[in-house]
Amino acid sequence: MKPVKPSISIASLLALALLAALVAAGTGCRTGNAIEPTSGTVPPAPERVEREPGLDGPMGGEVEELDAEGFAEEDLDFEDRFAEEEVEAEDATVEELNEQGVLETVYFAFDSAELSDQSLRTIEQNAEWLEEHPDYHVVVEGHTDERGTTEYNLSLGARRAKAVREHLVRLGVDGERVRTISYGEERPRETGSGETAWAANRRGEFRLVEP
């Protein structure tokens, strides 16, 4: 399974780089000829991406052709990938998206539901993803570490989940799309005792669900 988010950004990068290469190459790239495959050697893509088009100056016809050719191939490739992505995104079940971790987890200090700067940034990213994917709803799960007793930790987990939800809503995510659930100390991510496990377990997780 290809992670959706990374391949989008790689694809965009490639597209940008190739467009830049095109601009540098200047002419003729949109012609039918340019995308005819030839038997010429195609330089590896990374080289082209790294090249500063402006510095390369005017290029000879041959190079231009190669570039154009390269573009053509990459373009196909890009299109293919894009198409693949679309298919994937449509087919990916919420479970798969959750497994991929498209929405990142936030962490809390002991006995606290305060959102750290890091958490605020993470929630912003998650809010953006949710804005871009209006078809999904999300359940924010509040979790605590094992210390303290069951009932208090349930309430603490609820408070954490609500703090996250509030911030999502503040950032413009429709409140109807976000519900919360507290698991208290019942679903630790790390078993065992000690600050490492505890820190990993004091968290707010984002679980995508169908509306």
């Binding site: 069951t150 009932e151 609500k162």
Partner: protein, 457 residues
């Protein structure tokens, strides 16, 4: 074992008002289990008890329980087992010091039923048991005699089929002996409900008060927590993740499950029955953050009790039903508070330490047990409402959590990982008699059944 919590509590235990410590009965050179007995003002209809305390100065009742006699047609192993369970029950009740069953060899085998002989070796009371066959059924006869004079104080017989009813017969006998000699009900026929891991889930389980006969009550394949007995022990309220949001359910003895449909909120938790069984107190986040509510079972009405931006949860009723203790972090850290049952008159109970939670009100109304974080570990503390004194009753490795009182107000049950994985333990309110009840699968959130239901069963 027992640690005092504040300055005024550095007095020795024998100076504590209303209570006195029992020691070893040195005069008799017999090992008598140390036990705490209520003294003059506080007890009981029966003169024997107070009389013993006054006279002996050391004071658990010295009890002789010779081996159970097996009538014809009765398996010796059954008789032996009943005798063993009865001894264990009586010992655990905390009222008695049990003498060696054979009188430490100072009583001839044929004279173990002779009160005079037992008096000679220091016993105050003699419990004679006899198991006999009656067709398919068996009968357990129990007599309690005063060793001075040989007066028969109790003579009762129970019937059952063996081996299935071995434990129940012994427990019934123990409770009768306790009640006869102390005027207080025994707890040997009570139960403990708890949750235990099962795969990814936690299911509700039930066991006898001594950890025997464990049976599973739910099969939901999800998380269930915090079972709480109804006052007649006919029902258990508990939290389940079975539905879309974690919510409160009622499970009856007959296996019926009732869903208490939440009026909103994404967490409705921590149920506790009022002593008259008419209401449940619980916590809900429906009004923005965790607050305490009551639910009236007859009228289906809910009432909000707390209004505070802090977490308010884990409500428990006082035995009178007039007050509710709960956990709140309104001071910045979790502490125990008490309020009137209508939500008025809120006052803070605990000040020592930064982390106090999970209150349990003793059935005699005089004390509140709770969990306190002490040197990084969670320990069980008892707060005396009369004196304000706090006593730490647990120690040693691991955390001790979720205390609940036994109906005798002398024992508590809690969960702890002191031996590695979380398990259910019971303990005397003075920190003695620690007993581990479960092994293996991790177990949590116990609640001790009331007495009434145990009898009805």
């Amino acid at each position: 074992m027992v640690a005092m919590r504040n300055e005024q509590m550095t007095t020795t235990s024998s100076d504590r008002p209303n209570r006195r410590w029992a020691g070893i009965a040195a005069a008799t050179a017999l090992v008598v289990v140390a036990a705490m007995l209520p003294a003059l003002g506080q007890t009981t209809e029966r003169d024997e008890v107070t009389g013993v305390i006054r006279g002996a100065g050391a004071s658990a009742l010295a009890l002789a329980v010779p081996p159970t006699e097996a009538g014809s047609g009765v398996r010796l192993t059954h008789a032996a087992e009943i005798g063993q369970i009865l001894r264990s029950d009586l010992e655990y009740s905390g009222w008695f010091g049990l003498l060696d069953p054979q009188g430490e060899g100072r009583i001839a085998a044929g004279q173990l039923d002779d009160p005079q002989e037992w008096r000679r070796v220091g016993a105050q009371y003699l419990v004679l048991t006899r198991l006999s066959a009656a067709g398919n059924r068996s009968r357990l006869n129990v007599r309690v005699l005063e060793t001075s004079g040989g007066t028969v104080l109790m003579d009762k017989t129970w019937g059952g089929s063996l081996p299935d009813d071995i434990r129940r017969l012994a427990h019934a006998a123990s409770d009768a002996v306790v009640e006869d000699l102390t005027g207080r009900p025994g707890i040997a026929q009570t139960f403990i409900a708890f949750v235990s891991r099962r795969g990814e889930a936690k299911e509700v389980y039930l066991m006898d008060y001594d950890g025997a006969r464990v049976r599973r009550l739910t099969s939901t394949d999800t998380i269930n927590l915090s079972p709480a007995w109804s006052p007649d022990s006919s029902e258990l309220a508990f939290l389940s993740y079975k539905g879309r949001t974690p919510s409160i359910y009622l499970l009856s003895r007959t296996g019926e499950v009732t869903t208490l449909r939440p009026r909103g909120g994404e967490l409705n938790a921590a149920p506790d029955f009022s002593p008259d069984a008419s209401k449940l107190a619980f916590s809900s986040d429906r009004d923005g953050n965790s607050e305490i509510y009551t639910y009236d079972l007859a009228s289906d009405r809910e009432t909000r009790l707390t209004r505070h931006a802090a977490i308010d949860t884990a409500p428990v009723w006082s035995p009178s039903g007039r007050e509710i203790a709960f956990t709140s972090d309104r001071s910045g850290t979790p502490q125990i508070y008490i309020m009137s049952a209508d939500g008025s008159n809120v006052r803070r109970l605990t000040y020592e330490g930064r982390y106090n939670e999970s209150a349990a009100w003793s059935p005699d109304g005089n004390r509140i047990a709770f969990v306190s974080r002490i040197s990084g570990r969670f320990e069980i503390v008892i707060h005396d409402l009369g004196t304000g004194r706090e006593t730490v009753i647990t120690s040693g490795p691991g955390n001790k959590e979720n205390p609940r009182w036994a109906p005798d107000a002398r024992h508590l049950v809690f969960s702890s990982n002191r031996d590695g994985r979380y398990a259910i333990y019971t303990i005397r309110d003075d920190g003695t008699q620690l007993r581990r009840l479960t092994r293996g699968t991790p177990s949590f959130t116990p609640d001790w059944s009331p007495i009434s239901g145990a009898r009805a069963r």
